[in-house]
Each structure stands twice: as structure tokens, then as C-alpha cells.
Amino acid sequence: MSALEQSAVADRGGPAQPLLSVKGLQKHFPVRESGALPWVKKGPARKVHAVDGVDFAVAKGETLGIVGESGCGKSTTARLIARLIDADQGSLVFDGEGVAEFGGMALKDYRRNLQMVFQDSFASLNPRLTMEEAIAFGPRAHGLPAREASARARALLARVGLAPEQFGGRYAHELSGGQRQRVNIARALAFEPRLLILDEAVAALDKSVQAQVLNLLRELKEERGLTYLFISHDLHVVRYFSDRVMVMYLGQVVEIGPVEAIYGAARHPYTSALLSAVPSMDPANRTQRSPLAGDPPNPIDPPAGCRFRDRCVHARAVCAEQAPRMLPLDADGRHFARCHMNDLASGYASSAPAANPEAVQ
């Protein structure tokens, strides 16, 4: 047993301790205003509010689905958690230990416990490495002897359904999209991680292949006790695959809860709109009206108060005046939403309706 394996699988805090908790995560990207041409006068410094105060926890062995439209910050959240980019603010606690902070867990150990699978299966593989080398690369960099790393790579290839003698020596361009995504999954597993971030990992695959990869991910989760953060825009897949779902809008979490609560009893108007925008599969029962008008707004300078109010049919004056709080909605404290309508103290009931040009009545 190498040091790599020992440190990777140890469970420290017991089953009740969340595997990962994220607190106050924030990332603003500065926008360079016409900065490319030196003689063009620069405008005022503006920021993209990509992620603005995100809090959540993932329990051990759970799959947390993250949904939202482009620009809502779901991928930035994933990259912040993987520490691929540094957060402006916020902290990560992995199984009870602070990540990369004094007295906590070293960043290198954290990264070994967490791996990521990206949407673009081709761009995430080095074109000059064979599949076996690609999978063995990480463990070798973390100190596993070459022979062991290769053996592990071959075992993993076999596990994800690719015969090692056939695929181990191939390069990325010699594989189909589904096969490449299997290799990416195998590579992520090479560290024996405990948390896997799947960022639109099945989005680029054809439906028939997507089902195969989803089945593989389910089996691997059972087998290895993995925890998944599953980011997707496909609401059908999220419903099937997740235990809990987190809905994001303009850099904030607007609703989070068990999958049945989100799909059956959504309490944020955005969640309801998002769910009813899914095309119906029943030709006798087609969608008659779009639940929302307009595009998701620009995350530069998001509106004050509730960020969804410009597109919300229920918006009232109070929604512009104060930002809604994240409120628990059920007795066991698993379902939360950020909307004044659920908050008796907000004064929503007595507030005047807001004039809303974009909202569909």
C-alpha cells in the first residue's frame, strides 16, 4: 500500500459529518472595459458577479445535483470547489477539516480526495498521452511507482468497460466521445477520490451513450462509496440521478432541497419556471405558453433586491427593496428557498405589485 492510497480513503468524521461544506463562497471577475486597445478610454471598473455567497453541504454518499442556466455560476462554483481558481471569499471544509488553512488539510491532500470530470471529453485529455499514460499520470505525480500506476490504470480501464489491451495504447483522437468520457472517469478514479465533480459530464454525449455512462457512474458510486456533485442543464437527468438538487440563479442559490421537494413542490418561482420550460414529451399536451420571457440577465451588475424580480410574475415592490433570505421550508430543515413569498416577515403580502415589463402574465 502506498501513501497515496492510505491518505485518500480514510473517513475521519463519521457518517453524520458532511463530506464537504461550502461557506460564503464568492468570486467576482473584473471586466476589462475595452482594455485590449490602449488608446480606447477605459470605462468604470465593473465585475461579473459569478458566484455571490454560496453556502451548502454535501453528505457522504450523496449526489447533489446543481442546475441553472448559463451564467448562473454553477460551473464557477465547481471550479472554486476544485480550487482550480481561487475564491475571493469563503471557506471549504472537507470531512471536518478546513482546506488549505492553518491546522487544516493540505491542498495536495484535498485535491487527491476530489476529482473532476468535464464536459469536453477531448479537451480534457492530453493528445500526446496514451489512455493508459493519461490515467497513470496523476498517481505517478503523487508518488506512486510507475509499474503500480500502470497496473492501476489498466484495472480502471477494464472497470469502465474498455479492454486495456485494446484501448490502453490508443490516443484521445482514436476514441469515440463516449469512450473518451469513460477514460476521463477512469482517470478521475485513479486517485481513489471520495468526491467527484461531474460538470456537464454527460451533456455532449448522444442519448443512447449517455444512458450507458450514467449507469456506469451509478455502479461506481455504489461500489466505491463515492459522493457526487452533478452539474447539468438536463432536468430529466438531474431528477433521475440526484438525491438533492440545488438551483442557482445569477450567482446565488435560490432553492435547495430533496429531489422530490424540488420537482414536486418547488417554492421559488424561478425553479417552477425552469421546470415548466422542459419540453413536454406528449404530443397531445404540448407547451402552450413560455413560463418566462427574455434571456437570463447579465451577471455584471445584477439587480438589487431579489435577482430574479425582473422576470418574475409574482414580483412586488418589496422584491426590489430588500434581498430575500434563504429560509427553511420544512420541519427537518432540508428544503430551503430564497423568496419573499415564503417569508411572513418580509412584508410581501402587503407590498404593492411591481410593474414588470418582461414578465409574462
Partner: protein
């Protein structure tokens, strides 16, 4: 049935180059006036190639085509030069998947629509601009007058796709070809564009071919569906027939692997294997290597489309169709 607007017969398209690929293998279908056909398939199934062939967009030097395409009274395969230019955009026009690439970034959206109108019709620039404005309003772009002078990059994805549709409709085509027009859009925007397409089709009475890999989107807008696999149409019929009683095992598998209401504790019914290599198609049914029902006959002979019981227009190309053939 009256004479169809579009009739495609035995269309074959092969691409040459480093690798030869048989992209289309004997595709035949009709499209009535005012009808919406959803062309469904996975990558490499030939759905986009079919659309591009209808506009003759493939580079002639590297493509060999055979078969017949007739739109109205026009023989599309024989069109050349000026007549082809008039046909593209005038009779049939296309909405592409990525409007960010389809627009020229250096001209405003209005200029590009006006240019298209002037290229096809002998009218003044002012009249063309007035029509462009009317089109922008018709596709429900807010503040259309101002957006006419906007560059493509100044618009959001959904707005660009609306402008793309306005451009495609500029010369009142009889046939609109939509190549995955909503795939790149967010869910809440996608449904808006789908509803817009449906509304415009009804108002203008156009025929539409809607290519997509998303069954849900196809069901929202189509009257009929055709499912493609390995460069062939394997099943076609009314939306209800294809979605609710599929006859081809591939259609059934595709529907099953489109997760809608699968219980969470069950594995998904996935189709094993991968889509076929168009450079080396099997001699028989292209789906046979992945099919649970495949027999020796499937591996040797290509099945033809035949009518299924219940509806003459519901046809499938399968030796072991899941429904009874109408003339067994």
C-alpha cells in the same frame, strides 16, 4: 393527398477525402405544404447532412450525390449558378444551430437582413429596411427598431437566434430548414424559440424541417417525425405514433434511454455499443450490431421502409419490427 411541396427520392451522399463516408444511403421522404417534419437522430445519423443537401451546401469537389430532390416544381439537383442562388433563401432557407457563427460579425443585423432582401428582390433600400423591421417585430425582438442597428455580439443568444429566424424568413421561403435551432440555448429561452417557430409556421403556412437530437423539442413543434440512423430513415410517422408506439427497436431504445420517468433506483435501459462508422457501414441493417432482436437476415439485407398496422403513414425499416407490418 395533394402533391407534396418537397419530395426526396433515393438520396445518396458520399464524402471523399482522407476517409470516405457514406453519409446518406437512399433517403426518401415527402413533406406536405404547411407540414412540420421533425428529423431526429444522434450525431452522425445524417440528419444535418440531409438539410445541407437540400440547399446543396456541400463542397462539390469532395461530395458525390445521387437521387432526386424536388421543391415545388424545381429540380434542386439540377440547379446551378444564379438559379441556385435564387433558390437558397428565396424558396428554401436555413436556420443554423449557432447564430453567433452564422451572422457576419462586422455588419449590423439589419444590414444583413436588408442585403438578403435586396439580393433576391427588385425593391428599394427603404422598402427593404421597412421589411427588415417588420420581420424583427414578427420574431418578437423587443425594441426592434434599435436592434436593427445592433451588431450580432451586442445581442444575447436567444435574441440572435430570433434575428437568425428573421433573416431566414426575409424572402418568404416556402420551406424553412432548422438545424438544431434551440440546442445552444438555455432551457427557458429554448421553449420561447420553439413556441415562436410553431407560431410563425402557422401564420405563414410554411413547411418546416426541424432537425434535432432532442426528442422533447421535436415533439413540441412537429406534425410528423422521421428517425435517422446510419444515414437512413429507419422510422417515420405521426408524432404520436413514433413516440407512443415505436416500431423500430432503435426508436424504442432512444425513447427508453431518454430519461423521463425512470424510477431512481433502476438502471437506465441503455442501448449497448456505439453509433456506426459511416466509413464502414455493415452490409445489412446499420443498427443490427446493437440490436437485441437482430438475426442473420438483419446482418445481410438492408430492410426497406414498410407501413405498420394501424396507420399507413407509420413506416419502419426493420425485419423484426415491434409492430405488425400492415401487409404481412
Amino acid at each position: 393527398m395533394s402533391k407534396p411541396l418537397l419530395s426526396v427520392r433515393d438520396l445518396n451522399v458520399r464524402f471523399h477525402g482522407e476517409r470516405n463516408a457514406s453519409a446518406l444511403n437512399g433517403v426518401s421522404f415527402d413533406l406536405a405544404e404547411g407540414e412540420v417534419l421533425g428529423l431526429l437522430g444522434e450525431s452522425g445519423s445524417g440528419k444535418s447532412v440531409t438539410l445541407r443537401t437540400l440547399l446543396k451546401l456541400h463542397p462539390p469537389a469532395r461530395t458525390s450525390m445521387s437521387g432526386h430532390i424536388r421543391v415545388g416544381d424545381t429540380d434542386v439537383m439540377a440547379l446551378q449558378g444564379r438559379a441556385l442562388e435564387q433558390y437558397r433563401g428565396g424558396m428554401a432557407s436555413m436556420v443554423f444551430q449557432d447564430p453567433g457563427l452564422a451572422f457576419d460579425p462586422l455588419y449590423t443585423v439589419g444590414e444583413q437582413i436588408v442585403e438578403t432582401i435586396l439580393a433576391h428582390e427588385r425593391i428599394g433600400a427603404d422598402a427593404a429596411r421597412a421589411r427588415a423591421l417588420e420581420l424583427m417585430e414578427r420574431v418578437q425582438i423587443p425594441q426592434a427598431r434599435r436592434r436593427l442597428d445592433a451588431y450580432p455580439f451586442e445581442m444575447s443568444g436567444g435574441m440572435r437566434q430570433r434575428a437568425m429566424i428573421a433573416l431566414a424568413l426575409a424572402c418568404r421561403p416556402k420551406l424553412l430548414l432548422a438545424d438544431e435551432p434551440t440546442t445552444a440555448l438555455d432551457a427557458t429561452v429554448q421553449i420561447q424559440v420553439l413556441l415562436l417557430l410553431r407560431e410563425l409556421q402557422r401564420e405563414l403556412g410554411m413547411s418546416v424541417i426541424f432537425v434535432t437530437h432532442d426528442i422533447g423539442a421535436a415533439v413540441e413543434v412537429s406534425d410528423r417525425l422521421a428517425v435517422m440512423y446510419g444515414g437512413r430513415i429507419v422510422e417515420e410517422g405521426s408524432v404520436a405514433d413514433v413516440v407512443q408506439r415505436p416500431a423500430h427497436p432503435y426508436t424504442a431504445g432512444l425513447l427508453a434511454s431518454t430519461v423521463v420517468d425512470v424510477p431512481r433506483d433502476q438502471a437506465l435501459p441503455a442501448i449497448p455499443g456505439a453509433p456506426p462508422d459511416l466509413a464502414a457501414l455493415p452490409p445489412g441493417c446499420a443498427f443490427a450490431p446493437r440490436c437485441a432482436h437482430a438475426s442473420a437476415q438483419c446482418r445481410e439485407q438492408v430492410p426497406a421502409l414498410q407501413a405498420m398496422e394501424g396507420d399507413e403513414r407509420h413506416r419502419a425499416a426493420c425485419w423484426h419490427a415491434l409492430l405488425q407490418p400492415a401487409h404481412a
